[in-house]
């Protein structure tokens, strides 16, 4: 068959026309939900769990909802372009799932007042921008308890991503609870300055292990530190953001699991019903946004029981992970006996508690 240029072009024009009508018709009855991810959906951690939330939305609403996502979007101007494109493509609701998307989200939201935005782990809101996060520090309290018991060298390594309040809260919470069960415990903190860079995370883990750490906590998203710990032998780790169960029962002895699905479904429902308003959600273990992955048999039974008891107390609200007496690193008083930290201080936390060595990079 001989194809002329003209025939091809007519065909293309027709296809375009068809596509345009098709999307135009669909836009009326389908709610379009966009997701912007900082890592690849296969990272096995943070982004992986957000994508599970997205899949849950698709499953829950079926044909009512169409979801789109863009993965591995760098924080900064690139993310602004991606969000703008999503909004132009007719998204009704956009979830931006990393701290560094905060200002881009606010900027794009100002340009598209009819599109609803949901920014994870940030603190800036607008009429059409909600923020949501999970109280990961509650999970860190449980991890710290287990880590304090499990370490024999009394050195716990911590791989930080960026020195932002969320990460600092995690370090403080883990340290407070490790110290509670093991007064000799010492934290070594390495900042990776990335959320996701397996080579760097692996190197950081190896260095911490070489410097005597036998428990590694990570606030980065890949499973590379788990692999490094496994290669080293007697080192324990915790799954971060996702269960990372492929490294159980050792080195991974428990994990913090983010469970975004209920929130994503509720917010999508709100958009469909037209009841969406700008909110500030910060849920912990109680409402189920933070889960504690199975504590494996590598952990002695009494430690496991203690950790689970702490988890229950955190879930019921009987105990707050930041309960006084607590001092700041410089020795000044922070919380008096029995006093608990307010959300404002926690949201902007930029100091270590007493006992942690080193400075927070500025």
């Amino acid at each position: 068959m001989k194809l002329t240029k003209r025939a091809l072009m007519t065909g293309a024009a027709m296809a375009l026309g068809l596509a345009a009508t098709a999307t135009g018709a669909m836009a009326q009855d389908k709610t379009k939900v966009g997701f912007v991810y900082v890592g690849p959906v296969g990272d096995g951690g943070w982004t992986y769990e957000h994508d599970k939330g997205r899949q849950a939305v698709e499953e829950h609403f079926g044909d009512q909802v169409e979801t789109v996502f863009v993965e591995s979007v760098p924080e900064g101007p690139d993310s602004e372009r991606v969000m703008t494109q999503m909004a132009l493509d007719g998204a009704d609701l956009i979830f931006t799932t990393s701290f560094g998307y905060m200002d881009p989200t606010i900027n794009v939201a100002a340009k598209f007042p009819d599109v609803k935005f949901e920014h994870a782990t940030g603190y800036k809101t607008a009429d059409n921008v909600s923020v949501y996060s999970a109280r990961f520090y509650e999970g860190r309290a449980v991890q710290g308890t287990i880590a304090g018991h499990m370490t024999e060298s009394n050195i716990i390594g911590y791989i930080g991503s960026y020195p932002i309040p969320e990460v600092i809260r995690g370090i403080n919470s883990a340290y407070i609870h490790a110290k509670k069960v093991n007064p000799d415990v010492q934290f070594k903190i390495v900042w990776a300055f990335t959320w996701f860079d397996p080579a760097k995370e692996a190197d950081a883990a190896k260095v911490l292990i070489e410097q005597g750490a036998d428990v590694i906590l990570q606030h980065t998203d890949s499973t590379a530190p788990q692999a490094a710990a496994q290669a080293a032998g007697n080192v324990y780790t915790f799954g971060q953001a996702s269960d990372m169960a492929e490294y159980a029962p050792k080195p991974r002895i428990s994990s913090i699991i983010d469970n975004w699905a209920p929130y994503y479904i509720a917010r999508t429902q709100a958009v469909i019903d037209g009841t969406w308003t700008s909110t500030n959600t910060w849920d912990g273990i109680g409402p189920g946004m933070v889960g504690i992955g199975e504590i494996t048999d590598a952990v002695p039974a009494e430690v496991k029981a203690e950790a689970l008891a702490l988890k229950d107390k955190l879930a019921s609200g009987e105990y707050h992970a930041f309960t006084g007496p607590l001092k700041k690193q410089d020795g000044s008083d922070w919380l008096a006996e029995g006093e608990t930290a307010d959300d404002g201080t926690l949201a902007g936390m930029n100091f270590y508690v007493e006992g942690i060595e080193g400075d927070i990079p500025q």
Binding site: G42, D43, Q211, S222
Partner: protein, 306 residues
């Protein structure tokens, strides 16, 4: 601050591991440049090797098969460069840059579905007695096999260039391709072989990152190592043993900056993170006094009729 937390033995041992990938890639590029070809596509060939090796190792369960596949993958990609520069007579700099961009794209395409998977473990060399020796044992006898392969490669390349007739011909081609042609040597054929060797080495270096150093696959995981390898060749003024020295220096700074951080040294992390690159630049500047060492025909296009 607690410097005593840094164990020098472990530091040297991990420095050797950190240096291996860049060393293998650089020794391959050294041969390419000694043959008078400038291939800037090292980064692209490394990452292609990384994913080829990773995918095959996962599928077959054998790290050895993975490393073989990585050399084939790297060499195959380099043959594209060879075709462009030796037959189509394209500009070497532009072709090399294109090769890097192409390799990065190709690798993320091939890597779809391999994210978050664990590769089969490569065993560490464990010679009874020898590995248990204090200090020396851990440094000399406690590594995975690839560390030794890298060292052997450097020694082999050195011997090849210095003592073998083939090495002499390779150098002749790199120094003056017209003269070599007049003597009856097949300039294009020799250069293609050199390019393929360079590609194979780059692929092997890439697979070392994805199979042993991390071990995991992620897009863009070589993160600029290929460019460091290129810089190392100049740093080494095209001499094999200096490649080894440069690679260990680079690996040392990389590992040391993390060690200093963990030991709580109050140097801003940003300076430590960029220190390996700064040192590379400084050394390059110092070494540039030694300009005359570059192969005379480096980067020049050869055609038999001209």
């Amino acid at each position: 601050m607690d410097l005593s937390a840094i164990n020098p033995v472990l530091l040297i041992a991990s420095l050797m591991v950190a240096a291996t990938a860049v060393m293998i890639a650089a020794i391959g590029e050294l041969i390419v440049e000694r043959a008078g070809v400038l291939n800037l596509g090292v980064e692209g060939m490394m990452i292609t090797g990384a994913i080829c090796g990773f995918a095959v190792a996962v599928q077959t369960g054998s790290p050895t098969a993975g490393f073989v596949a990585a050399t084939i993958g790297g060499a195959a990609l380099s043959l594209l460069f060879a075709f462009l520069t030796q037959f189509a007579l394209a500009n070497q700099v532009a072709s090399g840059l294109a090769l890097t961009l192409f390799g990065l794209g190709l690798s993320s395409l091939l890597g779809q579905g391999y994210q978050g998977i664990k590769p089969p473990a490569t065993p560490r060399l464990d010679i009874p007695v020898l590995t248990d020796l204090p200090v020396v044992g851990r440094i000399l006898f406690g590594h995975d096999l690839m560390v030794y392969v890298g060292l052997a490669l450097v020694a082999a390349v050195w011997a090849f260039l210095k003592y073998s007739r083939a090495g002499l011909i390779l150098r002749a081609v790199g120094e003056n391709h017209d003269a070599a042609h007049a003597l009856g040597y097949k300039v294009v054929r020799i250069r293609i072989m050199a390019i393929a060797f360079g590609g194979a080495c780059a692929g092997l270096g890439g697979a070392y990152i994805s199979l042993i150093r991390v071990p995991q696959w992620t897009e863009g995981m070589t993160a600029g190592i290929g460019w460091i390898a290129l810089a190392l060749v100049v740093f080494a003024s095209w001499k094999p043993w200096r490649v080894l020295l440069g690679a260990y220096l680079f690996g040392g700074v990389t590992v040391l900056q993390l060690n200093l951080q963990a030991a709580g040294i109050a140097i801003p992390v940003e300076y430590l993170s960029m220190s390996p690159y700064i040192i590379t630049i400084v050394v390059l500047v110092i070494m540039s006094a030694d300009k005359s060492r570059a192969p005379a025909s480096l980067g020049r296009i050869f055609h038999a009729t001209s």
